[in-house]
Amino acid sequence: MAFACLFVSDFPVQAVVRLEPELRGKPVAILSGAAPLTKVFAVNQEARVLGVEAGMTKVQVESLKGITWKWRSASQEATAHAALLDCAWTISPRVEDGERREKQGFSDTVVLDLSGCEKLFGSTDKITHDLKRVAAEVGFAVNVAVAGNPQAAVCAAHGFAGVTVIPTGEEGFRIGKLPLEALRVPVEFIETLRRWGIHTCAEFSALPEVAVVERLGQEGLHWWRLAQGRGHHSLIARDFPTTFEEHMDLDSPVELLEPLLFVLNRLLEQLCSRLRMHILSIGEIKVTLALEPRDSRSKEPVLHIRTLRLPVPGLDSKLFLKLLQLDLEAHPPSLPVVSVRILTIPARARSRQLGLFLPLSPDPERLEVTLAKIQNTVGENRVGAPVLLDTHGPNSFRQNRFVLAEMQDKRGKGEKRATAAMRIYRPPLPATVEFKEGAPTFLDCEGARRQILAFAGPWKRKGDWWSETPWAREEWDVTVRALRPKVQAENAYRSENEMALYRVYKDLRAKRWFVEGIYD
């Protein structure tokens, strides 16, 4: 029995660099946290040499020259980990996810069972070098270690750089040279062992077994066995993926198609390499472009989704790129692109069964396509589910992506409904309001000048003063002779002299007036 482990050091950096090979060998630091709380999340060795450490603030390190700054992307890390799994699957069908690091939200390790693989792929040495090479193809510099049990392989991959093959029976000796940290022992154990004057695995493993159990319990025994290079963990193999995905966050929004194609090409190449490892072809490509939202307060990205179903499955990245180019030329994104995600579905039919007790509802993927089609028809930003925002601010709702679960009515029983409804003009109509002795007298809007016959107000609102986008407005409800038919309420015939109640407001920062809506 032999097990191999692939470990990617400085994983968040490598997850970025693998898609931007020009950064290889250069000092790179990954930032996380929204400004102004931006901090260094991870660095590579080259950056470490220059004195950058995780946890520093951006301001502390930005004086250091020659460092490339990149933003942390959880999606990129997730796809990178998927790619790492793919590398392992090239050798063995039995592949296990490495442990997810606490608080960091990523896993930088995979373990694979090499039983019987020698017959297919040659000696262990060859396999380890193959693994390293395959990993390099998807952009990773990995440590590879082989040992007689999965835990020893993981410890060795973390503790020794490059390729390490530990002959069966020598695990204890080799692992013994490593410090306790290589075992990834919990902190409380490390503290106890430190108190005992124990710093290496060998020192730990030299303690008598019974004495260890008496003092550290079964968990201690587990770590003690690990320190001896022994492990009894059975591999929990991962299922093969049904889709393959690559994701890239762009440094700055891209408006033109050409640079976007450059990014798409990189992602497609990666996907093709990964599918090739599984000896699969691409049957369908779904490109999701996240666009820069118009409204900076909106936290939900605007998505531009294009789906290509290929008549003949293939692995020709150049062809796919061309198809995508044509499609995007016909359906260009309306706003600059901030991130790109490509999901590919292999050509083989999907075998996963939908839930037995699921209610009859549209197939989610079909629904997605349908929504995309509706969006193409009614226009960008006009499909979704509205969700109220907790703010005094204007337009205080957000448009969430439409999902079935959100169709439920969440309002509690007995809750009052608004007594008056207002139809909002989107966008609001620019207007001018004339005042006399503090009272509004005339409203000018879209070429019509109306005398204000009655009014209520002003209602003042002011907020977000701590942010970069503070706002302040003064609202009035005014009764005037109805404005032009196009701004009247639907289905309502109004004669020339019919009165209507409008909400007008002044954006106090821009010092401009608008008609916001009409009361029903």
């Binding site: 603030t57 108190r195 004495a211 008496e214 942010s467 970069e468 302040a472």
Partner: protein
């Protein structure tokens, strides 16, 4: 009729208002309002400041409060499905005080429900309580927090009408006003229209207010931040909890008239209500309690008798001349006390002293009370004011018309609590209370809480808090701007800039109410009719809603029962010395001018001694060279900001050393300043100077001191200065002399000590020096048992005691008790006491567990670690681990070392169950290696914060010697001006407010302490090393001036010693 704002909440609504009462008053004055009412939430916390500020600017301050009440439903809240939908909060009634009876009712009402509350700020008044206390109060229907708004929003018009009718039945028709507010909010306006209709239906008058929560619109931002702090929310996500706009400011009458153009009567009525509200805090109705005396006796006659008894005792054996002078003084004082009707006050303090004596609690009066011969005779103070020619007027004067101030020092801890509980018991729960301490936002708390509201993460806030100095010296670099840069904040970022700006603005605004350390107020009758009372966090304590300055401003007398660590030390010494040295000690009978004690003081060998142990004291002791008690009085007083800022310290020292001749600014000042060589050092001298030079009366002089005191008023100071100058001109003082005297007076009136106070402290200082000199083991044990106190950490105290020859023994499970104890050994036939460190120094050890160990040990000695765990199951594993680490379990076995103890503890603490209990340990010996010296040192400091082994520096002495680094004891032999290197553990970092940014470091090595001076530029350069490193190497020029040795640093480096967790006491 002018508009009067009748609904104003200040920052004393604690996180529900954003302006100080003073700022609201001054804004009201600017807006030409004739009066203004303060109605804070559930209290009258800000009322004294509001009243005083209004008095100064000449407007009327109405009193009131918003009272949380049950029975009227809850305030409307956001729907449950919305984020930040807060829990239900009770509605609040806005009550305004019309008469003195009304004020009494308001205070009692608040006290009633406050004392009932389980959790701070959750109390509510019941309708019955309101009915009981409604007289003399005017009720407004309130703004959004009020009854009307809640009823209208939650249940509609009919319910609102019902509730307002209930208010009418509670307060009477003519005392209920329908309050209208307009903050440019449509929903509110709907309520307002309904309220107008309701008022019409019920024939109630309308009243316009602006529901003010801040003085100016800009402060709305602070209110939003407060809202976030209160709700533990972030600005970003607080949503509708925040203010809708910034309209809750104090508005002018004109603006209000425009807002209520359609309801002019609502504006008009404000003036009418204001004229109805006759009551102000000027008629508080406070009366000091009367001391119960026997029939046929008056308090005055009783006081006279008690004074006479004490007088005979104190002065009976003294010289005739002194006796006569004292008699005259006592008579004079008694006459004044009678005239001012203060006998009750003196008797009450005397009663507390009597209680303490009976309970064998060490007690000593200090402060200006020590100027009084009556206090001395009554045993309140221990300094003879007649013998020392102290000025009585500093304590009490006819003109001042205020209560005298008596501070009592008690041993900190349980003994002091006993005295406090005695006062409660004597005057009843509603007759005595502690004064409050208003906790305000300071640099660090501001940075933390504002940062949290702005959404900064905990780690960043911790970093920022670590660089913010919260001390008195604020150098040019000690501002938020610099601190922000130090933690890597980009000040150009708008969010960071806002953070910085808010931190500055929030400073000094009240955060919450704490409890003053010792101030107690008592009242004849019921204190709750004078000021509302609240339960303090500490069980059994009640606290008033005002702090001690507010109480003083309102003429409420207070007695300070202060806990003094050194009193506890002295008290413990009095118990230890007879037991271990077979010598009785009486602090009142210590030899007055003991030569060895003064010799030690002159050497500045004063670690652990009261008041004279600080770095600055040590630096001045060799210069002052005290030889008698009065020198010590001067010594205690001279290292104060007053004499230092007033540039009096150096002239005094030069004159003391004979380097400068004694001269007086004017010959008439000679009798006053003779004792202090022509340099004024005490507040009494300042008063006398004003009396002699400018013909001030005693009372006027004391007024002058107060004018220069903490609450300085420019105008008042100018008036007094003019008076001083005119007096001095009359008496023929030249203008330069006048300038000199005025500088002296103004600089230390604020920070100087009264001579009487210095004398009281000097008594304690002398006692501590004497006990340290002759009973080192007892003194050190007592010091260690009463930590934290003083200037140095326990590790430094132990090191100092060892340097003085005391043997200090480590913590030992077979010998130690909870406290540090004294053991005895015989050397050369002589009994040699040594000190055993107690379990109290084992980090994380609980007293109950330690005491159980001791009691089990007394039954039968422990046989091993397993025996300990079996017989004392109360001891937790973590405690055993620490005991093993510091070697306290080593005596439990042959060849036991710290790691073998750890090895056994781990097994013993994880019992295998009854089945396996009988199976013996397989290994006889532990497989673990012994700790190295360095590991032992690290373990000692980690587990106990101190070591009885070699000093950390001794381990690297050899290497340091090679680098020409000197030991602390070598410095005395080096010439002045020599470039020198020293290294040591940083035991104190000081950046006093008077030192213009200079930093003083004390480095300790195995031979003693070396003193380092770091100039501000160098400090900026090495700030991180100086503040962050535990061991430093300093290079610089040695200064040896008058045997005061220090090194002027020119380079500071860290010394690489393993992670020994030593502790420095930092005073910024």
């Amino acid at each position: 009729m002018k508009y009067v704002e009748l609904h104003t909440a200040s920052a004393f609504s604690f996180l529900e208002g954003a302006s100080r009462p003073e700022d609201l008053v001054s804004r009201a004055k600017e807006l030409e309002m004739p009066a203004i009412a303060l109605v804070d939430r559930d209290g009258v916390y800000g009322a004294p400041r509001f009243h005083m500020a209004a008095k100064t600017v000449g407007i009327r301050a109405h009193v009131g409060a918003e009272i949380s009440v049950e029975g009227f439903g809850s305030r409307s809240k956001l729907p449950d499905w919305m984020p930040n939908s807060s829990s239900l909060r009770p509605v609040r009634l806005t009550l305004l005080v019309e008469s003195r009876l009304g004020y009494r009712n308001l205070c009692r009402l608040i006290t009633r429900y406050k004392l009932r509350e389980q959790e701070k700020g959750t109390g509510t008044a019941t309708l019955e309580e309101i009915a009981e206390h409604a007289e003399g109060l005017v009720c407004l229907t309130g703004g959004e927090e009020g009854v009307l708004a809640a009823s209208l929003s939650n249940h509609g018009y009919d319910e609102a009408r019902k509730n307002v009718e209930r208010l009418i039945s509670l307060f009477g028709r003519k005392n209920v006003y329908v309050e209208l507010q307009r903050h440019c909010d449509s929903e509110e306006e709907r309520r307002t229209q309904a309220a107008v209709r309701l008022a019409e239906t019920l024939s109630l008058p309308l009243l316009a207010t602006n529901g003010v929560r801040y003085a100016t619109a800009a402060e709305r931002e602070l209110l939003d931040v407060f809202t976030c702090i209160r709700n533990h929310a972030k600005l970003e996500t607080a949503g509708r909890l925040l203010e809708r706009n910034d309209e809750r400011l104090l508005r002018s009458g004109e603006e209000m008239r425009q807002l209520f153009w359609d309801l002019p009567e609502a504006i008009h009525n404000t003036g009418e209500v204001s004229s109805r509200l006759k009551y102000t805090l000027a008629e508080l109705g406070y009366e000091f309690p009367r001391y119960p005396v026997a029939e046929g006796e008056t308090m005055d006659s009783f006081l006279r008798k008690r004074t006479e008894e004490g007088f005979q005792n104190r002065y009976g054996g003294k010289q005739e001349e002194l006796f006569e002078r004292a008699r005259k003084q006592v008579q004079r004082e008694l006459a004044l006390i009678e005239k001012l009707k203060l006998a009750g006050y003196f008797l009450i303090v005397w009663d507390i002293i009597r209680f303490c004596r009976e309970q064998k609690i060490l007690v000593q009066g200090r402060g200006s009370a020590a100027n009084s011969a009556v206090c001395y005779s009554l045993g309140i103070t221990a300094v003879d004011p007649v013998g020392m020619e102290l000025l009585f007027e500093r304590f009490l004067s006819e003109e001042r018309g205020e209560w005298p101030d008596i501070d009592l020092d008690l041993p900190s801890g349980d003994q002091r609590e006993k005295a406090i509980q005695y006062v409660y018991q004597r005057y009843g729960q509603l007759g005595a209370a502690m004064t409050a301490n208003v906790i305000t936002y300071r640099d660090r708390s501001a940075a933390r809480e504002v940062g949290k509201a702005l959404g900064f993460d905990q780690e960043t806030l911790d970093q920022l808090a670590s660089v913010v100095d919260s001390g008195e010296w604020r150098g040019p670099s000690d501002n938020f701007e610099n601190h922000f840069q130090q933690v890597g904040f980009d000040l150009n970022h708008p969010r960071i800039r806002k953070y910085w700006e808010l931190c500055e603005r929030i400073q000094d605004l009240p955060r919450h109410l704490g409890q003053h350390s010792g101030g107690m107020v008592v009242c004849q009758g019921q204190l709750d009719a004078v000021v509302p009372l609240e339960p303090a966090t500490m069980p059994g304590r009640v606290v008033v809603q005002w702090d001690k300055d507010d109480c003083a401003d309102m003429g409420i007398v207070k007695v300070d029962l202060l806990g003094l660590g050194m009193m506890a030390v002295l008290e413990e010494c009095l118990e230890l010395i007879p037991r271990h040295y077979n010598t009785p000690v009486d602090l009142a009978q210590l030899p007055p001018d003991d030569l060895p004690v003064y010799k030690t003081l002159r050497k500045a060998d004063t670690v652990g001694m009261f008041q004279v142990e600080s770095r600055a004291q040590m630096a001045s002791l060799p210069r002052n060279a005290p030889k008698k008690f009065y020198d010590l009085v001067v010594q205690v007083a001279i290292i104060r900001p007053g004499p230092i800022v007033g540039k009096m310290m150096h002239p005094y020292m030069r004159r003391r050393q004979g380097k400068e001749s004694v001269r007086y600014a004017h010959p008439s000042l000679e009798p006053i300043l003779k004792r202090t060589l022509g340099v004024p050092l005490f507040q009494e001298q300042l008063l006398r100077m004003a009396m002699v030079a400018a013909n001030f009366t005693g009372g006027e002089a004391e007024d002058l001191r107060r004018a220069m005191g903490f609450k300085r008023s420019e105008e008042r100071m100018k008036k007094i200065e003019a008076k001083l100058r005119s007096g001095m001109t009359q008496n023929g003082f030249r203008s330069e002399t006048q300038d000199e005297i005025i500088t002296q007076i103004s600089s230390f009136a604020r920070y100087g000590f009264p001579e009487s106070h210095a004398a009281s402290f000097a008594l304690i200082a002398y006692a501590s020096a004497y006990l340290k000199e002759y009973y080192l083991a007892a003194f050190t044990a007592a010091l260690l048992n009463n930590q934290p106190m003083g200037f140095y950490s326990p590790a430094v105290l132990i090191q100092d005691a060892r340097l003085h020859g005391l043997r200090v023994r480590p913590i030992d499970v077979l010998q130690s008790e909870w406290n540090c104890t004294i053991e005895h050994a015989t050397k050369d036939g002589k009994d040699v006491p040594s000190l055993r460190i107690g379990f109290r120094y084992v980090r994380g050890m609980r007293q109950a567990a330690a005491e159980k160990i001791v009691s089990e040990r007394q039954k039968r000695p422990f046989e091993g670690i397993e025996d300990v765990t079996r017989r004392v199951p109360e001891v937790q594993k973590a405690e055993l681990v620490t005991l093993s680490e510091i070697g306290a379990l080593n005596p439990l076995g042959k060849e036991m070392h710290r790691r073998s103890a750890l090895w056994q503890v781990e097994r013993a603490a994880r019992p295998g169950g009854p089945l396996l209990d009988t199976i013996p340990e397989q290994l006889e010996l532990s497989p673990l290696k012994q700790m190295t010296d360095e590991e032992r040192l690290v373990a000692d400091f980690h587990g106990a914060g101190l070591s009885t082994g070699p000093h950390p520096m001794s381990y690297c002495r050899e290497a340091l010697s090679k680098q020409q680094v000197k030991r602390a004891s070598d410095l005395a032999g080096l010439p002045d001006g020599q470039y020198t290197r020293v290294a040591g553990c940083v035991i104190a970092r000081q950046r006093p407010g008077t030192a213009k940014g200079f930093v003083f470091l004390s480095l300790e090595d195995e031979t003693g302490i070396s003193n380092i001076i770091v100039n501000p530029d160098l400090y900026e350069k090495y700030r991180k090393v100086i503040n962050g490193e535990k061991f430093l190497r300093v290079e610089g020029v040695l200064q040896n001036q008058d045997n005061v040795i220090s090194i002027k640093a020119s380079r500071v480096l860290p010394v690489a010693i393993r992670s020994v967790e030593t502790e420095s006491h930092d005073f910024h």
